[in-house]
Subunit: 334 residues, 2 copies
DNA sequence: ATAGATACTGGGAACGTTCCCAGTTCCCAT
DNA sequence: ATGGGAACTGGGAACGTTCCCAGTATCTAT
């Protein structure tokens, strides 16, 4: 493998000059530049980034830690981030923790050893104090957090999203409204969650008493949705619509319902969150609040780039969701 | 940031000894070892992997290049690979080419600059001659290729999968069988594809004449499936079942069919391939040939590890698909 | 003509680790 | 007691780049 020294010899210049040409900076005469280029070509030289990062203490690499790469939400986030970083010559390493705390930590450790320039992470249950002790590079946290963090946050504004969903079902005539909460993404009791706050505020504005039985806490997964259905079925007094927390829950609910001859939306209406491709293709299509998935990744990446530039960045960037109307919410007779 | 020299000073040993302790090899007395450990702890030392790879010329990093990280198939593959590599102390970099040839090439270049230890790649249209010239590390190619390649291949055995699908629909009484081909993943004319070969062989065995109109070439996507439906609808003589190439096609077909009051499987039966989560959740559930997605990633990773160990590995590893029976194939009256 | 800026160049040191080799101590078998 | 191996140790060189600095040539303004 040829080094810049081999290139230098061949081009009859010094290694310093080669370095300057390759970096595209400093003053180099046209002849030297051409000679170097030619030598690079002839020797088939490829730069050794490892040696380079060793000296510069920059690796041009960013690590992204996510809990589940097979979830469309997170793969879209990755994609959005990679496109932005790519453009600036940064490579993205994607690490998949599978919701395991020890792996999250190990990846962070690895990131420090490998001297990545920055870290983007979603790890709802991780102690951020610890993180800030371990990591000495810029960090951006993905996903909303209610408590204050020592790092910038990029996520969706769930307060607004919930209100948007509520306003929508209200416009359809619904007044008996259930909501799914979950500790995930909040790392604190569900009753303190932004979602619940949004729900309470809105209900108070509409002068509706909250039925505590309609505030349901299940895992945000297909399984959770199935569980939600059996909870709903066994209720004496049933809500006419449920905000399901995320799309997977709505999918699981719909599937269980179908097996039980309950028809969505005729018997109960559902609103999902995220807008994963699945919910647009099933029947009935699930009305959902679309999160700007790849935009979240892209903005997080931009924050990283800004921090790397020494700029100060906004503490929290919460993006809006978009209501996608499909067939899972039926108009109630007013 | 403390270096091993700082650790050495604190532990009153030489840097060589510290290096030996950290690497866990060579002969070191218990006292020295303990002293080093203590110093590491006290100084909060983290090893600099960049310096290490500089000297050893190993980065303990593997690059995976895939065309679409948001496709469940590929994210499962990544996940499978990462789990295996992780266990052996390797990190996986996932690079998403978005089907763009220039990006595939750029990532390969980057891999060489960053001195990754090995590369796993799916790039159906890429010139493998070129790749082998660019890359001087072990490579594993993902996805079946009919032509001989200078690298080991890990993928699914589509010849067997097609036969399995054909045997199944045959057992259900179907004799008018259509099939979808596509150049993707084969990088050669569709008529040379393994799939088509399997189809022809099987049809000959059953003494059925091939109706060329029922051999259809469309993109393997939801859009392709919609197109497939309109092709099917306009046929004078229609097949009673179609092997749809992949699940997305089946999904697109079903959706279009529904809009046109055509019922799957009553009016036409479908068989998908891959088994993405979507097809198990929609209604009707699509009968499909499940590919062992994460196993493909895992095996590819194991091949990498073996090659890194200097072992020789099998040229091609083609895994079997599993028939998942759902509701999209109806029994024909015999 | 000369001072001083500007353009360009090359050599040495440094980044933090691992490898190599030589050296010291200790123990055991003769 | 002595040779020889094993256990352990430390110092220097090397990996390939970039940074720093000093040096030379060229140009411009007085």
């Amino acid at each position: 493998m040829p080094t810049i020294i081999d290139v230098a010899k061949r081009a009859n210049v010094s290694k310093s000059t080669v370095s300057r040409v390759l970096a595209g900076e400093g003053n180099v005469s046209k002849e030297s530049r051409d000679a170097v280029m030619k030598a690079v070509e002839e020797l088939n030289f490829v730069k050794n980034s490892v040696a380079s990062s060793m000296r510069t203490r920059k690796s041009k690499t960013v690590l992204l830690i996510i809990p589940d790469i097979t979830n469309n939400f997170w793969s879209e986030v990755s994609r959005g981030a990679q496109i932005v970083l790519d453009k600036k010559g940064y490579s993205l390493m994607v690490a998949n923790s599978d919701w395991q705390k020890d792996r999250e930590e190990r990846y962070l450790q690895l990131a420090m050893e490998h001297k990545v320039d920055a870290v983007m992470v979603n790890a709802p249950d991780m102690d951020m104090e610890k993180v800030s002790k371990m990591v000495d590079t810029p960090i951006v946290v993905l996903g909303e957090r209610s408590q204050k963090l020592p790092f910038p946050i990029v996520g969706t504004d769930s307060y607004k999203a919930i209100r948007k969903a509520l306003d929508y079902v209200w416009s359809k005539g619904h007044k008996r409204i259930g909501i799914v909460l979950s500790a995930s993404f909040d790392s604190e009791g569900t009753k303190n969650s932004t979602k619940y706050r949004a729900y309470c505020d809105w209900m108070k504005e509409k002068n509706i008493d909250i039925n505590e039985k309609w505030v349901i806490n299940i895992p945000l997964s297909i399984e959770g949705g199935k569980k939600l259905f059996s909870i709903w079925r066994d209720m004496d007094e049933k809500p006419s619509v449920i905000l399901t927390g995320n799309d997977l829950v709505a999918v699981g609910f719909t599937k269980s319902a179908r097996d039980d001859d309950v028809v969505v939306p005729d018997d109960v209406s559902l609103v999902g969150f995220d807008d994963i491709p699945l919910v647009g293709l099933m029947s009935p299509g699930i009305t959902t609040l679309q999160k700007p998935k790849s935009e979240i990744g892209a903005i997080a990446a931009e924050r990283i780039l800004e921090m790397l530039d020494g700029k100060t960045v906004p503490e929290r960037t919460l993006l809006d969701s978009l209501l996608i109307e499909r067939e899972s919410v039926k108009g109630e007779k007013l």
